[in-house]
């Protein structure tokens, strides 16, 4: 029987790129580097102290070695597991295992993605546009002929099936966007914080969501995450090192990962994700259950993603996921805060958002959410136990971690 790696590692610092949202002057690598600079400073380490690099974005082809090269470090462990926006949460699982095995003490998990501005530069200079798929690939033969246009056009099928199967309304999902926007109002870095940060920022209502442009019915524009530029990073350290650093360690109590399919062509049950499996693994390692959780960071690529995940994590009964946002619990000041940074819906979503779930969870549990430059009064919650779930691909892959504050 292998030993249980629970609490063998902790998140000891977090940071974002200097600017978030629309940053045309920075490439993905620059956004990475700034986030790592800020996370290392938060943890009180030097970048050269980093022994392991976990990264999957912004460095085509060579991913984590490409990032290490840019930073000028030569890590003893690199991991570029590329499974969509859930990858970053899985990296915590991977780092925990390696630290528990004694292979390294300090790792960085990083993401930089010029998700908005990079696309506008593509094709200029010697820049390559996105590579064409192999014409014999399944998606080329059996998906491309039918006119789908990106993630919203496929996720909408899942949302419709869920609404049909459980009799859940579009209003119930719209409420998720409304509550998430309230949290963005407390985060000055959130793209949709206010009219000052974006002409479309500030509070929204259910009617605003329902009246926003239909992208792929039943998904409206305000059911869909932002497309932005950002970098984010967290430092992970062994228990011994974590106790020697300046921040209160945020312990990795449990971690798990799972998949149900890769492309939606092979999605069996549109009303579920593998988060039920990855969270069961994480809860088991932690020796905790959904009722022990005090807050949640849930990947919200779409209102549907967040809603269905709430029940996959055991936070709500089957078919009632969106009700997590129905009362006051998930709101600012509520007893079960959810997506306290403003989420992918209203804070920032560069294409792969999972990194930002970890940055925010670390801050909430380290008690730094209101530090100058990081947040505003009202953001810091009292939560001491958080469940964090990333979803990647087409509702395909999930990574879950259970984090606990230092006692």
């Amino acid at each position: 029987m292998p030993n249980n790696p629970s609490m063998a590692a902790a998140l000891v610092g977090a940071g974002e790129s200097d600017k978030i949202g629309f940053v045309p002057e920075k490439t993905s690598l620059m956004l990475h580097a700034e986030a790592i600079k800020n996370a290392a400073a938060d943890a009180g380490i030097h970048i050269r102290d980093i022994e392991a690099v976990f990264s999957a974005g912004g460095v085509p082809g060579m991913q984590s070695p490409g990032l290490a090269e840019y930073l000028g470090i030569k890590p003893k462990w690199f991991d570029s597991t590329t499974v969509g926006g859930s990858a970053f949460v899985m990296y915590v699982h991977h780092a925990l295992a390696a630290i528990n095995a004694g292979i390294f003490d300090i790792a960085v998990i990083s993401h930089g993605e010029s998700g908005y501005s990079g696309g506008r530069r593509a094709g200029k200079g010697t820049g390559q546009t996105r590579g064409q798929l192999d014409p014999w690939a399944p998606a080329s033969q059996f998906e491309a002929p039918y006119g789908l246009a990106g993630a919203p056009s496929s996720y909408s099928h899942a949302m419709n099936r869920y609404m049909h199967q459980f009799g859940v309304s579009k209003e119930a999902f719209a409420q998720i966007a409304v509550v998430t926007r309230e949290w963005a109002g407390l985060n000055p870095k959130a793209v949709m914080h206010s009219k000052e940060t974006n002409p479309n920022g500030g509070p929204i209502t259910i009617e605003d969501v329902l009246n926003s442009r239909v992208i792929s019915w039943p998904l409206n524009l305000l059911d869909v995450c932002l497309v932005t530029d950002h970098g984010g990073a967290v430092i992970v350290a062994s228990a011994a090192v974590a106790k020697s650093l300046r921040r209160k360690p945020v312990w990795v109590a449990g971690a798990g990962e799972a998949m149900s399919h890769s492309s939606m062509l092979a999605m069996d049950d549109f009303t579920r994700t593998s988060a039920s499996v990855s969270s069961a693994r994480a809860y088991k390692m932690a020796g905790l259950g959904p009722r022990d959780m005090e807050m949640a960071m849930i990947y919200d690529s779409f209102t549907y993603t967040a809603g269905v995940t709430a029940e996959m994590l055991g936070l709500r009964p089957r078919g009632e996921g969106p009700t997590l946002w129905a009362g006051d619990d998930a709101r600012p000041g509520g007893k079960f805060p959810v997506n306290t940074n403003g989420g992918g819906l209203s804070f920032s979503h560069s294409g792969m958002y999972g990194m930002m779930l970890l940055v925010e969870a670390q801050r909430q549990l380290a008690g730094t959410a209101e530090e100058p430059g990081i947040g505003l009064p009202g953001r810091q919650t009292n939560a001491k136990v958080a469940v964090v779930n990333g979803t990647g691909g087409s509702l395909s892959t999930t990574g879950t971690v259970v984090l606990t504050a230092d006692s």
Binding site: P135, W136, P138, S140, Q141, F142, E143, A144, P145, Y146, G147, L148, A149, P152, S153, S154, S156, H157, A158, N160, R161, H164, R213, V214, I215, S216, W217, P218, L219, M264, L265, A266, F270
Partner: protein
């Protein structure tokens, strides 16, 4: 045919040729495992149900039901001219599932389209070699 302006798939001559040959003749061909007898889709050289590599092609009934659908308001290339159009995942009578664009529905009124409705496959000639399967609501 000459005016077919949507993406035209290319057959993989080593694996999916029977599917596209069938489509050209107006037949829906599905890969079936000779060990566990289950069909699967998209076509593979391995059965995803039992991991056997013994796959044969069988003609399907062309009957199915709508598992779920979405109405697309944004698309690219030739499909951009068709918005709004309705994409759907079809539960085929033989047990596998397939993505398609639905025919015989009013895409301007999503509420009028019903999950579970019966559908029948049909083929549109896109080139000399390729006919693309679409599914039409028949009730």
């Amino acid at each position: 045919m000459a005016d077919y302006n949507k993406p035209i798939p290319e057959a993989d001559p080593y694996v999916t040729q029977p599917f596209w040959d069938g489509a050209k003749d107006g037949k829906l061909m599905l890969p079936r495992c000779t060990d566990c007898s289950k069909v699967h889709f998209y076509p593979r050289i391995i059965c995803p149900h039992c991991q056997s590599f013994n796959i044969e092609w069988v003609e399907a009934s062309g009957n199915g039901t709508i598992h779920t659908f979405a109405v697309q308001q944004r698309a690219f290339g030739g499909w951009a001219e068709e918005v709004p159009f309705t994409t759907a995942f079809i539960d085929m009578a033989e047990g596998a599932r397939m993505l398609t664009v639905l025919r015989g529905v009013d895409s301007t009124n999503p509420q009028s389209i019903k999950i579970g409705s019966k559908v029948k496959v049909e083929f549109e000639k896109a080139s000399d070699d390729i006919s693309v399967p679409f599914w039409r609501v028949v009730e």
